[in-house]
Symmetry: C2
Subunit: 374 residues, 2 copies
């Protein structure tokens, strides 16, 4: 109980010792709902707990009278803004209803009888799901001991194949939150063969400040590289369904053959613009996420539960017990936590909520520890 | 000039002689923008000129604090609401980012080497576009003299094929606005073979009150029938990207293999719910559309330009001259009108704006007539 009191105190004054972005927490918080309608902490979907940016809210309201119009000019504007942001050309940008739609377009555009789909195990589930109705030969490669992509093993599999290979690299990786050194990926891409395609999912790109990490957008002139980004994570727009791919002009055109007409939502595009123009959105989201992560780490350290390093807005940690029982008990205690991510069933993926939410969560977790449940 | 004055007067008092929904026009109008930022009349995309419903606006604002959350419960609620509305089961409903996404899923799920895709010429362009990267054998069948689908000819082509056929029926048809008798479609579906699928696009369903027209949802127990609906038209939500398919449970499951994860936009679902609960939205949209159509018809009659009967929110009318020149002149005069719909290049498709907009448009059209341009 002492520990729990400490955490509450630590939370109440959590911002005091921090510089920069955290002074903006109240502004962020006013735009958010902390809990579901049933009062549960929602720490299960890697959503940004602070909600969409205040500027995005205003943009949505300002554009309500255009919600009956197909997005045309605003779509073009977004493509140009994203090209400028990333130092590429508008022809390189493919918009999606969430980055998941551009992942889907990629899987569909590159499907071919006998093509291999090589990906980590575990990794984000949408890509193998999109591949299911196609003829891909799925090759799941366990992560290394450091929970990085096993580039060496993946490359062996690709090199041994004669036909097309699509390599899916989620970096940082979901659900582990871990990093694969960008230099290793660079080396492979540089050595890649004509029929080897790299689909690099950078949904958590903005959270990662590690010096060994950088975007694969540097390969924009290589037709075999596709990079995807999301507005769902650091921009807090998961419900708005907005993401994009960056690829060589010819590859981008191939993807667009599979695009859903008139994507994306008009208000999502308006909110996206406003978010891009909110110049400290990223730094304040990062700062708040770092503080929430610190609170969680402290509690996990306290009770001796191992966790993976995270370069994202979630943490994969041990639970010392049955996954389903853990999740059920957490739900009963008022917290929604991560689902099963086989084969890592002795870990749970926890999304980072607001510092206040992480205080509530760690109270529950410490109580579980006292009860011998973790 | 007398004619133009008459039209203006007719407009100002247009609601007087109408009963029912038109008394709600001011409420509708307050939610709309009549013109583009450049001041142009937007009569080119079959959008509902009155904007989203006031209740939908409120629902969006009320749900802004959930825009950072993936749509889960609200998605389930929408599926249940649509099932109830249409007298089907939730398992029969497939949500889409616009009905175009469910059209795309259908084309993808039913693709097969050698499969025929049989559709009208002209008809809505998205379906053949989605088929392009697949191996469909595209069979375009000219409309009848009455601009209905040529069911007899389409059936001949299907009957002569040995493999799978996907028949796309857009009813009422876009871009002609015309109707194919539902009894004719019923008879064909009832006689259909195992490998013949019917994709029935009912985007304009709610506008059509003709007694010879009804939905193909009556075939919900036939695994070979897919019906699609849209929130873009009578519900005025084109920018929100929300639509759905209704199909037999097993067919719906096949479509979902191609669904983009976490569709649709949270705020679109919230707005959609509010729109469904707005019990007189359909009747007032219909009434306003009828009044706008009446104004257009009157002007077309006045100058002797033939037009097709419309069961939608747009009218296909003759232009007596070059399509591109007409569109360019209209743009210069401040009106965006329909694009090229080959082979009907001597017609232009005009979306029905508000009665006030149709007054402005017909002023321009009558002026064009005076100048000998139409």
């Amino acid at each position: 109980m002492e520990r729990r009191s400490f955490l509450r105190t630590g939370l109440a004054f959590g911002a005091v010792g921090m510089s920069g972005g955290l002074s903006l927490l109240p502004e962020l918080a006013c735009a958010s709902t902390r809990t579901a309608s049933d009062g549960a902490l929602r720490l299960n979907s890697n959503e940004n707990p602070f909600g969409i940016a205040p500027a995005a809210r205003s943009a949505i309201i300002d554009n309500l009278s255009e919600a009956n119009r197909y997005p045309r000019a605003i779509r073009t504007d977004m493509v140009e803004a994203l090209a400028k942001l990333n130092g590429v050309k508008p022809e390189n940008i493919v918009l999606g209803n969430g980055s998941t739609e551009v992942l889907q377009m990629s899987v569909q555009a590159l499907a071919q009888p006998g093509a291999k789909l090589v990906l980590a195990d575990p990794t984000f589930e949408d890509v193998p799901r999109y591949a299911r109705p196609y003829t891909y030969d799925l090759q799941k490669v366990p992560l290394t001991a450091n929970h990085a992509h096993d580039i060496g093993r993946m490359k062996e599999i690709v090199d041994a194949s004669r036909g097309r290979a699509l390599v899916y690299l989620c970096n940082p990786n979901n659900p582990t939150g871990t990093l694969t050194p960008s230099a290793d990926i660079d080396a492979w891409i540089a050595a890649g063969a004509d029929d080897v395609y790299f689909l690099v999912d950078e949904a958590y790109y903005e959270y990662c400040t590690d010096p060994g990490y950088w975007s694969c957008v540097k390969f924009i002139n290589d037709p075999n590289v596709i990079v995807t980004r999301s507005f769902s994570k650091i921009y807090g727009m998961a419900g708005m369904r907005l993401g994009y791919a960056m690829a060589h002009e010819t590859t981008a055109a191939r993807l667009r053959e599979y695009i859903a007409s008139s994507n994306a939502n008009y208000l999502a595009l308006a909110a996206g613009h406003a978010s891009l123009e909110d110049s400290d959105l990223i730094s304040r989201s990062r700062a708040a996420n770092a503080e929430g992560t610190r609170i969680l780490h402290e509690a996990l350290d306290e009770i001796g539960l191992e966790y993976l390093p995270s370069y994202t807005n979630f943490v994969m940690h041990r639970i010392n017990g049955d996954q389903d029982a853990y999740r059920k008990r957490m739900a009963e205690a008022g917290a929604r936590v991560g689902r099963n991510f086989p084969p890592m069933l002795d870990y749970n993926r926890l999304s980072i909520g607001t510092p206040e939410e992480m205080g509530r969560f760690t109270d529950i977790l410490l109580d579980f520890h006292t009860k011998g449940w973790v």
